[in-house]
């Protein structure tokens, strides 16, 4: 149904009002504010994680990140629950793609995996981390599936479900570990903080990559349905 371009005045006025109110609110702020940066920077120094943002994400506010992983996994599962025909895409992509795409995929995927690993590794000191790595890994997964190296239906098979869940499950296990040692949830012991964070990051990368791949493949799977109508 083609939409005729039109402006509705009331929604427009409402949006403009929101704009004006936000500007007014921001304008009322003082020019400088420290927020929590001082505490956070000091805390990060103490904890040994050089990148403060990573320290905030995985340590100080690790609980947010735990639930955020849950959000991503939940969305993936929600999208999986909406598939009509899980095998539609698999039927369309039946064999390995032609020589060029095959060769390129063979060349790129290992590089992407290395890049993903690198992004995770440098996350502790600079920009990077599980999400960035996971995104690259997810792209690799999609590439593998579309070029026929991996069957798209695998995206919802039992092994894939394990991969999807392993990051969150590991994160939970690591979060619960301190409880046995007398701490609270996510209170990493100081001596093993770095290695635990790294372990979580690596497995999270895997799960995030799997999630993104699954999100793509699950919603791509029944394209033919809509086109048929």
């Amino acid at each position: 149904m083609p939409e005729r371009p039109r402006i509705r005045l009331v929604p427009l006025a409402a949006s403009l009002a929101v704009f004006a109110l936000v500007l007014r609110a921001v304008h009322a702020l003082p020019d400088t504010a420290t927020g929590l940066s001082a505490e956070m920077t000091a805390g990060a120094k103490a904890s040994g994680i050089k990148n403060v943002v990573t320290a905030v994400l995985l340590d100080f506010r690790g609980y947010d990140t735990l639930l955020e992983i849950a959000v991503l996994m939940l969305a993936t599962i929600a999208v999986l629950s909406l598939r009509t025909d899980p095998d539609a895409l698999s039927r369309r992509i039946s064999g390995v793609a032609g020589p060029v795409l095959g060769a390129l995929t063979r060349a790129y995927v290992p590089i992407m995996i290395v890049v993903a690993g690198h992004l995770v590794w440098i996350g502790s000191s600079g920009p990077g981390g599980a999400f960035q790595g996971g995104a690259v890994l997810g792209a690799a997964g999609i590439l593998l599936a579309l070029s026929g190296f991996a069957r798209p239906r695998w995206s919802s098979g039992a092994p894939m479900r394990w991969v999807l869940a392993v990051g969150l499950l590991t994160f939970i296990a690591v979060a619960l570990l301190p409880l046995a040692l007398g701490g609270t949830l996510l209170q990493y012991p100081d001596e093993s903080r770095k290695s635990l964070v790294l372990l979580v990051e690596i497995l999270l990368t895997l799960s995030i990559g799997a999630s993104l791949t699954s999100l793509f493949l699950a919603s791509a799977s029944d394209t033919s349905e809509g086109e048929r109508r």
Partner: protein, 516 residues
């Protein structure tokens, strides 16, 4: 944390005091006898349905006498009143349904008024016990409001004009057993509420005068309405409304004058006992008459005379006792309104006598249903009630029957108690002679009078409301007629653009209010 909190099980407190005893006796007897009567007269298959409503109603109806705090009073009040709807509609007739709907509407409104009154009083009193509530009202700034709400709620319960139709509606369509319980006990809960909740002896004179006049108007008005109806039970219903008007007079007598309070309360109790038992006996007797033939029928009609005469206040009946108690209460007051009420009271008995004559004519006239083979048990139950009607008020260990006992052999008093009945008989004779004039009025009124008319109007108004899209599927689905325009408004309100814009405007409004 706060005394206003219903503290769970502990907040439901019950107590036995001088007010509970007569009401516990009355409600206990009536709900038990009527229950047994229903049991023996209801076919086995229909019992489950009747008793599903009867039992909760009976539990509420009996325990309300014991309720000692606002929450348990409200609980029992509601528990008695609401399931009664199922008893009224038990017949499954359209009239019964309509009666049930009107009854339910008025009852729920009455409940809401009572809740508001109780909450108002509890907040003032800072507690929930009924005696605290009444005491606190004496000096409270919201005294008038709370009293007004209470009186409105009670008026709906006891059928004060213009709501007098509620009683005939609730008696006319229920099976005889439950109807007898409703006739004997339901409106008396209103009397109990007068005793338990109305401020005593602290209100301005005007309040007392207005309440007494309302009672007097109802006493006469309901009698006039009742004479125009054509079913025996509807006549009884209007008679109840009329008699409860007298109880309202008694309650009014106690509102302003502290000296009259004991007399007023005595009169309410006496009237409740007398009228509850007598009315219950009349409803059952009507059913007995319908079940019998020949000599048994004559015997039953003779038996019916006892409660009927009691209502009229004939000498040696319980009505004689109750009327004395009422007169004593009104007599204790000074002022023009009490005097007027006092002098008009005997004339109310003329109305009652007229109603009773009408009831007899209708009962004797109405067709006999197939004789019940098990009519011995119903008859025995009825006989038990008749004995109680005859004895209770005279034998009750209280002070309110002393005056009547003293007067029982005084010829002047006997004459006073008899002439209204004679006048009514005379009037009846006149009416029967000139049938032509009154024939048209006979049956001019359906049970429920203006309430039924009101319900019809509401229905008609609903049907007349313009509908947005007559062809809409809603019509076929028998959606409520009035619903269509409302559904249409909502339909437009929840379209995405409208609704989400409304939300953003709401957010803007909140921000503006917050940063004012």
């Amino acid at each position: 944390m706060t005394p206003l909190l219903p503290t769970g099980g502990g907040s439901l407190s019950f107590a036995l005091d001088s007010v509970s005893v007569p009401y516990l006796f009355l409600f206990g007897v009536i709900w038990t006898v009527s229950g047994l009567y229903s049991f023996v007269t209801t076919p086995r298959g229909a019992r489950r349905r009747i008793f599903a409503y009867y039992l909760p109603s009976a539990i509420g109806g009996v325990t309300v006498a014991l309720a000692a705090d606002a929450i348990s009073f409200y609980l029992c009040f509601a528990l008695m009143a609401l399931p009664a709807w199922g008893l009224i509609t038990a017949g499954g007739t359209p009239e019964g349904r309509r009666a049930g709907a009107i009854y339910l509407t008025l009852t729920v409104i009455g409940e809401a008024l009572l809740l508001a009154a109780l909450a108002l009083m509890a907040v003032e009193a800072g507690g929930l016990r009924l005696d605290m509530l009444v005491t606190a009202m004496a000096t409270s700034p919201v005294r008038d409001l709370a009293t007004g709400l209470l009186l409105a709620s009670i008026a709906l319960k006891i059928g004060t004009l213009p709501a007098s139709g509620i009683l005939p509606l609730s008696y006319a369509y229920a099976p005889a057993g439950p109807a007898s319980a409703l006739a004997g006990a339901s409106a008396k809960v209103g009397a109990l509420a007068m005793l338990r909740l109305l401020p005593a002896g602290v209100m301005p004179e005007n309040w007392a005068a207005v309440v007494m006049l309302a009672g007097l108007t109802t006493a006469f008005g309901a009698a006039a309405l009742g004479i125009l109806t054509t079913t025996p039970r509807a006549v009884l219903g209007y008679s109840s409304a009329s008699q409860m008007g007298l109880v309202l007079i008694a309650a009014g007598a106690g509102l302003a004058d502290p000296a009259a309070v004991p007399l007023s309360h005595a009169a309410i109790i006496a009237f409740s006992l007398h009228h509850g038992l007598a009315k219950s006996a009349l409803v059952l007797g009507d059913d007995i008459v319908a079940r019998t033939a020949g000599r048994a029928r004559s015997l039953a009609l003779a038996g019916l005379a006892l409660p009927a005469l009691a209502l009229v206040g004939a000498p040696l009946t319980s009505g004689f006792v109750a009327k004395y108690a009422l007169k004593d209460a009104v007599y204790a007051l000074s002022g023009s309104v009490p005097h007027a009420v006092y002098s008009l009271l005997p004339w109310a008995a003329v109305g009652t006598a007229g109603l009773m004559i009408r009831f007899f004519i209708l009962t004797a006239r109405h067709a006999q249903v197939a004789p019940d083979t098990r009519h011995r048990a119903p008859a025995a139950l009825w006989g038990g009630i008749l004995v109680l009607v005859a004895v209770t008020c005279w034998a009750w260990p209280a002070t309110w029957n002393h005056h009547a006992i003293e007067a029982v052999l005084d010829p002047r008093a006997l004459l006073t108690a008899t002439w209204p009945a004679l006048v009514a008989l005379g009037l009846t004779a006149v009416v029967r002679q000139t049938r032509g004039v009154f024939a048209r009025l006979d049956g001019a009124l359906a049970p429920g009078d203006i309430l039924v008319t009101g319900a019809r109007l509401v229905r008609a108004a609903n049907a007349a409301l313009p509908s947005r899209k007559p062809s809409e599927r809603v019509t076929a689905e028998t959606g409520p007629q009035a619903g269509r325009p409302l559904l249409g408004v909502e339909e437009r309100l929840v379209t995405w653009v409208t609704a989400s814009t409304l939300f953003v405007l709401l957010a803007v409004a909140l921000v503006l209010l917050a940063t004012r």
